[in-house]
Symmetry: C2
Subunit: 329 residues, 2 copies
DNA sequence: TTTCAGCACTATTTTCATTTGAGTGCTAAA
DNA sequence: TTTAGCACTCAAATGAAAATAGTGCTGAAA
């Protein structure tokens, strides 16, 4: 069991360490705890025994362990009000009418990255909820055209098509009409099947250039499913003292530049979730706080990557604020 | 004046330093130069006097100075053939039919970044050569629609428009028709004027929602002019031994993350240009090799950022190869 | 005149020992 | 249960010494 006083002590140590990044010694807390350093040491000893604190070496001050942070996050920390300054900066982005939703998310996360000095990640993906609304082809010259696909949620994808030899515009029109007839109303991720089993056989018979046309539409539709990965403020997390050595920085940068690694931090859970150190699969020295968003048939994850001694209270408040604002839209 | 032998010596020193990143001592070159270290030292001394070599401290080996690299690049280095392996890797990207030109450039540069361990940058911009080919609006629901703009070069830009209150589809059609009539054939960078002085006055009179509509199109057109900035393989340049300290790495990363700084490495000259150390405005410790490309009415810059002891011969060959292949398309 | 062996010299890097400082654990008394 | 006091420990800073890798210069040989 953890007594009230021990909890208070843990809170002080965690918060002090978050601020200073230096192991916390017993003397430093005498004033606040209103007792001698020896007493504090005894309590620290206990907290270490049950795994909430650690020493960096035998005679050093204490540092929260992963379990310690976890305890802090689960039992001690209280949600805070968003501070006025942070709110103001975010609100100017969130209110900006001329930005697409997607850009609003991106910009907000950039701001958060600056405010907190952590790195932010936005993973976006067109969800299967998108239904094809309209397919269109616009001729450019005698060998080129642009295919445009619009979904019912207002997402647009386009693809240039190069047709060797002359384009037979009647055939193109025929194909597009067919696609419109068969595919409009289909969800984005079933399109490829419809395209292959219904469209392909028909145009295979009647359309000379069916090979090229089919491929163009096929890739245009698959681009819709593509995931977007945006990392911003990599430099910020590197300013943290825990990353004070060249090799460690290189490692972290490499991870941020690896699309597969970054994509894998996708969140499934709907709340705001915290993964401390080894709890995340990214890096044992960081904490990742993430949450899912769904808007306009597009779903994704926003995440903050910082040192384990993250300003948990503030960050959660910030992320929560953004999430609520996105969900409102 | 620089004698034949001195030039040979400079070449050896530059190339050795490029490979090892260690100051080159006189002994190391005896075998190749077929003379004693004392003789080499005398020559080195001369090369230092005329500013082509430097010492890192009084008793160290020699390192090429900026002027030394410049001399090497201008007078000594010979263009090389592309090596088979490099060519193969690039060719598979360049031949890939399913990629848009833009992606081909991006992918090629990613490959080059990996091959060379330098960082690559692609700056793209829609050029004013693009003429508006077609403007279209696709309705989504009663408050939303998507505006799509296509240029004669096949570039597409789209923008969601939210109209508070009910959309009067007749009015929208009227507006779009007007825009099509007045703007098709105009170049991208004169569009905003036409929009303001010709379109705005007319729709201001007849269209209820003219404010929102005008703004939507206005931003859609200005998005066309937006520059794209892509940096890839930041981690690669950080592996170079010259960036072996945390603060230096942070500085470099910060520069790569700063859009304004990166944009400013835009190239005007049509050839392949080399900016060594203080010759570039990016960072005194790096060399930037860049070249302009123009394709399909889109122009941009591709650039390689590496340490001053760059593998000049190889890099120039690689960049030249890419440039020729892009220009062919 | 050019080359070069030999030597004195020098700055960096590495190693090792010493000191300093911050903090701990334990104990015995309040 | 608390705490003053003390012995102890490790990391970090400081400093001295040795090892290393080079240089510049000189005077003799080619």
């Amino acid at each position: 069991m953890v007594s009230k006083r021990q909890e208070e002590l843990l809170k002080l140590i965690v918060e002090d360490y978050i601020k200073t990044a230096r192991p916390v010694g017993s003397k430093a807390l005498c004033d606040i705890m209103k007792c001698s350093s020896a007493t504090i040491r005894a309590e620290m000893n206990y907290l270490e025994e049950i795994g909430l604190l650690e020493k960096t070496h035998i005679s050093s001050g204490r540092v929260p362990s992963e379990k310690g942070y976890r305890y802090y996050v689960d039992n001690i920390m209280k949600p805070k009000e968003l501070n006025g300054e942070d709110m103001l900066k975010l609100q100017t982005i969130l209110d900006n009418k001329s930005l697409v939703v997607n850009d609003i998310i991106l910009k907000s996360m950039e701001i958060i990255s600056e405010l907190t000095h952590y790195t932010t990640i936005v993973l976006g993906k067109q969800s299967s909820e998108n239904l094809v609304q309209k397919v269109e082809v616009i001729p450019i010259d005698k060998n080129n055209m642009v295919a445009i696909i619009v979904t019912d949620k207002g997402h647009v994808e386009n693809k240039s098509i190069y047709i060797p030899g002359d384009i037979d515009s009647a055939e193109i029109k025929q194909t597009v009409d067919l696609i419109n007839k068969l595919i409009v109303g289909t969800s984005i991720d079933t399109v490829s099947e419809v395209l292959e089993y219904q469209v392909k056989p028909i145009i295979g018979k009647y359309v000379k250039q069916h090979e090229v046309l089919y491929n163009a539409f096929y890739t245009a539709f698959s681009d819709f499913a593509a995931e977007s990965v945006r990392v911003s403020g990599t430099k910020n997390i590197l300013m943290q003292p825990e990353f004070n050595n060249a090799d460690r920085i290189r490692e972290i940068i490499s991870k941020f530049e690896d699309k597969d690694i970054v994509s894998s931090i996708k969140e499934e859970d709907n709340g705001i979730n915290i993964y401390i150190g080894s709890e995340n699969n990214f890096d044992d020295d960081v904490t990742i706080i993430k949450t899912k968003y769904t808007i306009n048939g597009e779903e994704g994850t926003i995440a903050l990557v910082g040192p384990k001694r993250m300003e948990y209270e503030r960050v959660i408040t910030l992320l929560d604020y953004i999430k609520k604002n996105i969900d409102k839209k």
